[in-house]
Amino acid sequence: MGIRFDLFFLSIAVLCAPCLSDLVLSKVDRRIDLTSQIARFTSTLKVENIGSDPVSEVLLPFPDHQAKNLAYLAATTNEGKGKTKGFTTTLPVEVVHPKGMPPALTWYSVSLPKGLGQGESLTLDVLAVFTHALRPFPEKIPQDQPQRVAFQDSAYYLSPYVVKVQLLSVKLPPGTKLESHTKLEKTEVSGSEIKYGPYENLPSFSYSPIVVHFENNQPFAVAQELVREIEISHWGNVQVTEHYNLIHGGSQLMGEFSRLEYQARPQIRGASAFRHLVAKLPPRAHSVYYRDEIGNISTSHLWGDSRKTQLEIEPRYPMFGGWKTAFTIGYGLPLKDFLFQSEGKRILNISFGSPIKDLVIDCLIVKVVLPEGSKDVSGSVPFPVKQWHETKFSHLDMVGRPVVVLEKMNVVQEHNQQFQVYYKFNNLSLLREPLMLISGFFFLFIACIVYMHADLTISKSSASYMAKLQWDEVQTAIQQVQRIINRCLTIHDKLEATLRDLSRTGDMQACKAARKAADGLLKELSKELKPLLAFLHSCPQAAQILPKVEELVAKERELQEKLMVKHSTVVDSYEKKSGGREIENRIASIQQKLTALRQEVEDLLEVIDEI
């Protein structure tokens, strides 16, 4: 069918008059690279303006059947010494010429930055990448046959302008057999290269179909669908998860697969199969995993240096023609390599395509998941893609995270450029997550408090409930008694401290004042103690503990009295100005009793505490 189309073309081209005569391509040098599954056309066009008006665009036509496989088109110019990229490609403009440009052509227009003046010439480098251009022929092969593909194109450069000199060189994989090729005039085969030309002074729209049939055992890895999810966390990580659906796009395997033969002589039995895929990840990638629906796949190698991290993966079985496999690769990247701040907006700068080398992707979907609270989200990609927004619910989310989805068909390695996503984010929104956790824990504590405070007994007049209430009250009273006794003890301590001060400074007035204050406080405390003791008396439940409490109170009173006696003797001795040793002798016995009593009081306090 392709051949018939081309003959139709040829006839039209011959009949059609040349339509554009302003520009002339003085030299066209075409190199077609067929060393992998992707066909790369590099054309160097020397464009000369022979008309009188400056020209600002150059038209590039492609036949429709070829244009639907066109994945990437870029035109660059070389200006002066360095290579400056001065290119703009406008998307297919279906120009319908009234004078009848040949139909079934897709036109691309390269806009020149400054118009080409009269008599000037310009060198244009056009790179066109075609996927699925190598057709497996035969389409089904048994295991031991090598893979052969057929490639169709035109020996003459299809152009609306007159071409003065043109060359074509087709490069095949090194060391492979060339089955057949179209032999036109001036065709020569040298090694793994076929040269057509140079052809001179051909009219515009000249087309001469050629077919090259050769052996190509390069891996034909085609990803039917690839979903790349890039999740940003402002806590310092960019997580990339890639879900692959791979198929071997070459000649399909016919007949049975013999594992024994494959393992014995893989080069002969299974020349077209591939086992390894190499992925080039950004440097400082961490937590790399490679798994599928069954679980982790351990046949992988990872090594990295400061410029890249290389991951080599091996699917669970070698890929033969027509076989499929599906797996997931995930890795984490440090945030500061990819997220930038400029003019109040945050910019994510990350690569678009797949990191696997030489992979053809039929449908690529890139999802960029931004943290909750991001606003004004927009993506900008250097080539046309389909863009829309979604929401994803992930960890600790309330309203969901905004997702920018970019979809592109027919993606090749040339699309592995950086793209940007712009958004606004307030740093305070970062606190949303810990606040959610904090409120969760606080709710637990509130529930605890409510449970302790709420009275959930069903019968409010049962004996056990009343007993429990009473015991609660007794406990309250005892705790208050304890508190009072502890305060008494602190007052005793303070008093002893003033005595020590007295021995240092000899300040009588302060001592006496302290004594007075202590007396006052102790009287108050004993007043507070009375109702509590009365209550404990009246309570039948406190019968057990009551004697101990009374003992405690009595001992404390004794302690108080003895301390007062000691205090007065010391003060008196100071007034009489008697020596230190005398004072000590006088209070010696009192002191002993004091310490003993103190110890007993503290023991009793402990015992009561434990009940």
Partner: protein, 77 residues
């Protein structure tokens, strides 16, 4: 862009595990004191303000501690 500065996390990555351990430890200690207070005080002596305050402090420390625990274990929330 010319003036594009790289953005990184407000707290250095390397601190996440240490912060997680310390915050969780303090949070658990405060939780323990909260429950001890609940268990030993009788109905009348309880003070709601003290309970709420202890609960709030404990939940702040536990919240941050669990956040850093999640971050340190690789779940970048």
């Amino acid at each position: 862009a010319q003036s594009a500065k790289p953005i990184s996390s407000p707290i250095p990555d390397a601190w996440y595990p240490t912060l997680a351990v310390f915050m969780l430890a303090i949070g658990l200690v405060v939780t323990a004191s909260f429950f001890i207070y609940e268990a030993t005080s009788s109905r009348k002596n309880r003070c709601l303000a003290k309970e709420l305050a202890t609960g709030a402090v404990a939940s702040v420390f536990l919240g941050f501690g669990s956040l850093f625990l999640l971050l340190a274990s690789g779940v970048y929330v």
